[in-house]
Symmetry: C2
Subunit: 340 residues, 2 copies
């Protein structure tokens, strides 16, 4: 196992160091070849490191940062006004190759803007996208973009297809991931111009195993390994799915609290309900990748728990092991050469 | 109760007369002032009417139609090639005021095209939209558009807001339904140009109680009574929500089949699981309205059950009772006058 060194922005998200440092300690314990640089306010981080062993501490570098990107800071404020923020300095470390990648639970818009400015795009890729795995009947599928780009032309959607395919092939050891394009019907005549044109580009590209249009309900059936869509649709689809899962959870809870008998039954079958909850646990899917950049940047959910944050760190480790950004660069270069 | 007369297209959907005529009979039993004209192949419909009483039959008119719009017919084929289809003749009956509205489970694209051609748009409304109720924590919310329009400019989204508000006010007896605009964030700077501009139009309109941007996860929280979005996003959000509900159902079932003990527990608590299933029953939400037309057209789901089809017929009854199209026309006229 080659040693991996990650930068962790400890100041982002709803909870900051208490959750993020706790997750960092668990990740170090579970990954013996891992080293972490923790970026943030020294005192707050040190407090959370109080119980850690000297051996573990020897794999941690603490980088004190004067500034914090707040969850409601505009990207421009983070970019021009906070050059000493934990987010910025963690990204600088990726750029300078002091670390292999970074994880942040901070403000998505700011992280996107800073990452793009500091790391730059992979040549041939116009815009970064946000990609994550979502559960399906047969396992999971990767979906992008989840909100980085509200308007996407066909070329952008096409590039998403390539990037998603490379990430999925690397992470899941698949030879030819099935790439689908989200649309409001499976027929060729359906959809807007961008989608129709992107379908043409994808189907003509030998590097991508394009399987055609898929509909919203197909996402969770596992009909393809990568679902491509624009950031407006992807964001709304993902959040709506989270919303309805939450609603169903509430309704299920209400049924088991409806009367004394149901309450009693609920107590007795708690282990079964727990294993159901584990089965649909959103923590297992935390850690979205900002894809298309010349470096590995993982966005953890703002409200992520310790366990969920560990998962985001593990996503970064996976991508470092598979050199995802350089694989995307290779694929894009091949494509540019085949087009000219 | 004033008598209501509806046209039912018996040939659409995955099941045709066996399901649709059965639902028609139930609807007649439950609504004593209802009359139905059943459009379709005479023999097939008559077969399903075999058990009905003479009294019930006296409230049914059977209209034999030579042609059927198939589920995979292109709208142009339905429009120009099948002038004697059950779908076309049912819509003609609405136009000729022989009936108060119609219900069809047929091909959505064809129904949309035919309805627009036969019934025409309400003056001031540019494009029809598909609207339906979805469950929320506190009841339900109306969402539009669900797939009639893949590209929507700000004026179209604004008109959706007005139409949704009128439908919701009428159906739910609300004075000022809260209208929200689906976006990828709640802040003013988020989203594409169409959404930003539509927000401006809605907030300036005294006739609409516009409450701002809402995110995907807010749909099911009941943060507003009407959710406005473009047909591409709305269709994908709705179908993805259906997809994940299906996935969760499968996972829950799997947990109760994992081993003998769980199976036994599953048997014992079957009534509780049944009441949960009833709670989230999609049948209760069947019946989407084609809104913006000079007549009432309800689209039933292609795979709708008898119970779900009854619900779609009841949605039509509700809208006839509340004269939804003429209320929309009034509202739009007021608006045009206030703008000039």
């Amino acid at each position: 196992m080659k040693p991996i060194h990650l930068a962790i922005d400890c100041m982002g998200g709803d909870f900051g160091p208490p959750v993020i440092v706790a997750a960092a300690i668990i990740a170090l314990r579970e990954n013996p070849s891992l080293k972490l640089s923790l970026f943030g306010q020294q005192a707050a981080i040190q407090q959370e490191l109080a119980g850690a062993s000297d051996k573990l501490l020897s794999r941690i570098t603490l980088v004190h940062c004067e500034e914090v990107v707040e969850m409601d800071d505009k990207p421009s404020v983070a970019l021009r006004g906070k050059k000493q923020s934990s987010m910025r300095l963690a990204l600088n470390a990726v750029r300078d190759e002091a670390v292999d990648g970074c994880v942040s639970a901070g403000n998505t818009g700011a992280l996107m803007a800073l990452a793009r400015f500091v790391l730059k795009m992979i040549p041939g890729i116009d815009r970064p996208a946000i990609i994550t795995a979502v559960p399906t009947e047969s396992g999971h599928t990767y979906m992008l973009d989840l909100g980085a780009n509200v308007d996407c032309d066909s070329e952008t959607l096409f590039q998403f297809g390539i990037m998603g395919s490379v990430l999925c092939a690397a992470n899941d050891a698949l030879k030819a991931p099935r790439v689908g394009l989200l649309n409001i019907g499976e027929e060729e005549i359906k959809g807007n111009d961008q989608v129709k044109q992107a379908a043409k580009l994808l189907s003509e590209c030998a590097e991508v195993n394009y399987v055609g249009f898929i509909e919203g309900n197909d996402i969770f059936k596992g009909k393809c390994d990568v679902v491509v869509t624009d950031g407006f649709t992807g964001n709304n689809v993902l959040k709506a799915s989270e919303g309805i899962v939450r609603l169903l959870g509430m309704k299920l809870k209400a049924v088991f609290e409806a009367n004394r008998l149901n309450k009693l039954v609920g107590l007795i079958i708690r282990p079964i309900l727990k294993s159901f909850k584990k089965e649909i646990d959103p923590d297992r899917y935390n850690g979205a990748t900002l894809i298309g950049l010349k470096g590995i940047v993982i966005k953890s959910h703002g409200g992520a728990s310790v366990k969920a944050t560990v998962h985001a760190i593990e996503e970064a480790i996976k991508e470092v092991n598979h050199s995802v950004p350089s694989k995307i660069a290779e694929e894009v270069e091949k494509l540019v050469n085949s087009r000219t």
